[in-house]
């Protein structure tokens, strides 16, 4: 049946949506406007109310800043790597452990626990875990292997961060995949069993394809979260060593708070803003086109 399009209610509905729209206009619309103005202005903390128009100078200084490109490269690599690792690990755990979790759902609660802890606190915790004198990881490595490495030193810091992020967010993909796996109707498993599929074949030809949309969604979400990472990286390594672990979020934060380069920070924000929304709306359009094509 057609969905109701009642005649007299449009103004009433608009009224109900108004508070949210006003709130967004004030707390996002206004900042977006400020962003746009400051990004083409020369401004310091002293001259906040008298920005001087400078055209694209801020964007040029971002464009020619090696640190910006280093941060972009870090964010991209970090986002991709952690998303893929989290999905692989989550997929394995979801499928391999599902016979256990099916019967005892509290097991899932234990595995989900890392999601409840603030990433900033997890970052701080790893300062302890990896500490060369009081950290258990170097201690056990010394005890059993007679050697340890400098986890947050140049060369290894990036990989340490990848592992930290992956271990905190694998539960997210695990949960998603577990639910998608459970949602596969048992008739399908039974039908493929009647067709003579062994369990590995069933996994490859039936179950993984059916979980495809969930896997794609998980990859996307985790890439986005990895790309915009701030909390745990910031408290664990700052941006060091030598700016090698500055994500784009950290780059903007430091340009603003540590260097006072308001124009540059804002210009970088605008670039990130436009890029994010372009990518997201592009993906939305693609997804709805696909949905339409299927119908």
């Amino acid at each position: 049946m057609t969905i109701a399009r009642p005649q007299t209610n449009a103004p009433e509905f608009r009224l109900l949506a108004t508070p949210l729209v006003l709130f967004l206009l004030v707390f996002l619309g206004f900042p977006a406007l400020v962003n746009l103005i400051y990004s083409v202005s020369e401004v310091t903390f002293e001259t906040l109310r008298q920005p001087r128009f400078t055209g694209l100078a801020n964007f040029l200084s971002v464009w020619s800043d090696a640190a910006f490109w280093q941060a972009s490269w870090f964010s991209l690599r970090f986002g991709l790597l952690t998303a893929v690792l989290e999905c692989l690990l989550g997929l394995f755990l979801a499928i391999f452990l599902s016979p256990l979790i099916e019967r005892r759902s509290w097991l899932m609660a234990i595995l989900m626990l890392p999601l409840m802890v603030a990433p900033a606190l997890v970052g701080l915790m790893y300062r302890l875990v990896l500490h060369e004198f009081v950290g258990p990881v170097p201690y056990y490595l010394w005890t059993y292997f007679g050697a340890s490495i400098s986890f947050l030193g140049p060369g290894s810091a990036f990989w340490t961060l990848v592992v930290v992020e992956t271990l905190q967010w694998t539960p997210f993909t695990l949960l998603l995949f577990y639910m998608a796996y459970q949602a596969i109707p048992s008739e399908i498993a039974e039908a493929s069993a009647m067709d003579g599929a062994r369990s590995l074949q069933r996994l490859w030809f039936i179950e993984l394809p059916m979980m495809g949309p969930t896997i794609a969604a998980a990859l996307l979400i985790r890439f986005i979260d990895g790309f915009r990472v701030f909390d745990n990286v910031y408290v664990l390594t700052g941006s060091g060593p030598g700016g090698s672990t500055a994500s784009l979020s950290i780059y903007i934060y430091e340009a603003f708070f540590k260097q006072g380069a308001i124009g540059k920070a804002v210009a970088a924000s605008v670039v990130l803003f436009v890029a994010s929304f372009a990518v997201l709306y592009g993906l939305n359009a693609l997804a709805s086109r696909r949905k339409g094509a299927k119908r």
Binding site: M1, T2, A4, R5, P6, Q7, T8
Partner: protein
């Protein structure tokens, strides 16, 4: 009072017309059933009358008052939904009283009305239960009770029985008919089930593609369908349609498979003869209007459906007494009751002068 009239009422979504220039007059106290295949616009029409869908063209009048753009509550109609739409978080009593509460009816008055309605519908012991604790039939009665307490000028039913099982459907059908006699209120009832339409209606409105194909008393529609669509839609099993041609005078040639004589107007050029299975009879091969070979039969208890292959006339369904002796493959004759068959011209319209 409860007269409802639609004057050239129409409904369109953009370029798509769901209802076109529809005229309908419903008298006070009348029970009108709107039937049609799915997608014919019957539910949309009901919702336009209710005020749940905007009417884009024409007018809707209730008791002579133009309510075309009035809100649902101002039309003083009550509706019983297909899914019952009971509020799951309210008890039966609260469900029935919600409208009264919104209308700020004093609680003593409301209580009396609810209890009176509950009495009529045998819901009194269930008043403090929640919808999820009720059976399908009980939920249906609560939905009707919710409509009754508001004392509307008219009741609207949107396929109210389609979620019930077959046995319960018959019971509820009888209850709704009784309710109509008791309350004497105007009722408009939408269904796709022509048995419900035949049994309940004072008047049936048959719709197709947003238009009224025919309206009238059930018997009129059954015996004198105005066109092929109504002829095929009303009646179960379906009417047989036999291709035919006017020979000369009142003689009708059945595609060379037989002929019969029927009074018809001078200018009429019939192309199909409509005959219901129960108006056909199996006879000896040489004594019928046409002949054929028995292809299959379905035993239905009281009678049986016999399918006869009759050359260019195709497969003909004949209703025969259950004890008729014949064998599949046997040649039989078919006698047509001329007085109860219909003729249709090339455009599908019934040829009028025929009784």
């Amino acid at each position: 009072m409860g007269t409802i009239s639609l004057k050239k009422a129409g409904k369109r979504y953009g370029a798509v017309e769901i209802i076109r220039e529809l005229d309908l007059e419903i008298a006070d106290g009348e029970f009108v059933v709107i039937v049609g295949p799915s997608g014919c616009g019957k539910s949309t029409l009901l919702r336009m009358i209710a005020g749940l869908e905007a009417t884009t063209d024409g007018q809707i009048l209730i008791d002579g008052r133009d309510v075309t753009s009035a809100s649902p509550v101002d039309r003083q109609l009550a509706m019983v939904f297909q899914s019952y739409a009971l509020y799951p978080h309210m008890t039966v009593r609260q469900n029935m009283g919600f409208g009264l509460r919104l209308a700020k009816v004093p609680s003593a008055t409301a209580r009396a009305k609810i209890e009176a309605a509950a009495e009529t519908l045998k819901l009194t012991p269930l008043l403090d239960r929640y919808p999820k604790e009720l059976s399908g039939g009980q939920r249906q009665r609560v939905a009707i009770g919710r409509a009754i307490v508001r004392e509307p000028v008219g009741f609207l039913f949107d396929e109210p029985l389609s979620n019930l099982d077959a046995a319960l459907r018959v019971d509820m059908r009888l209850e709704i008919a009784k309710l109509h006699r008791t309350l004497g209120a105007t009722m408009i009832y939408v269904t796709h089930d022509q048995v419900e339409a035949m049994t309940l209606a004072d008047r049936i409105v048959v719709m197709k593609d947003g238009r009224i194909m025919q309206q009238g008393r059930p018997r009129d529609l059954y015996e004198r369908p105005a066109n092929l669509f109504v002829a095929q839609f009303i009646g179960s099993p379906k009417m047989n349609l036999l291709p035919c041609r006017r020979d000369q005078g009142d003689r009708l040639d059945l595609s060379g498979e037989g002929n019969l004589t029927l009074a018809m107007p001078g200018m009429a050029a019939p192309e199909q003869l409509g005959a219901r299975p129960e108006h056909l009879a199996l006879v000896a091969p040489e004594s019928g209007h046409c002949r054929g070979v028995v292809e299959a039969s379905e035993y239905l208890g009281g009678n049986m459906s016999v399918f006869v292959r009759a050359g260019r006339l195709g497969l003909i369904n004949v209703s025969a007494p259950a004890d008729t002796p014949f064998r599949v493959g046997e040649a039989v004759g078919i006698r047509i009751d001329e007085s109860r068959s219909s003729l249709f011209d090339g455009a599908g319209a019934a040829i009028g002068a025929h009784p």
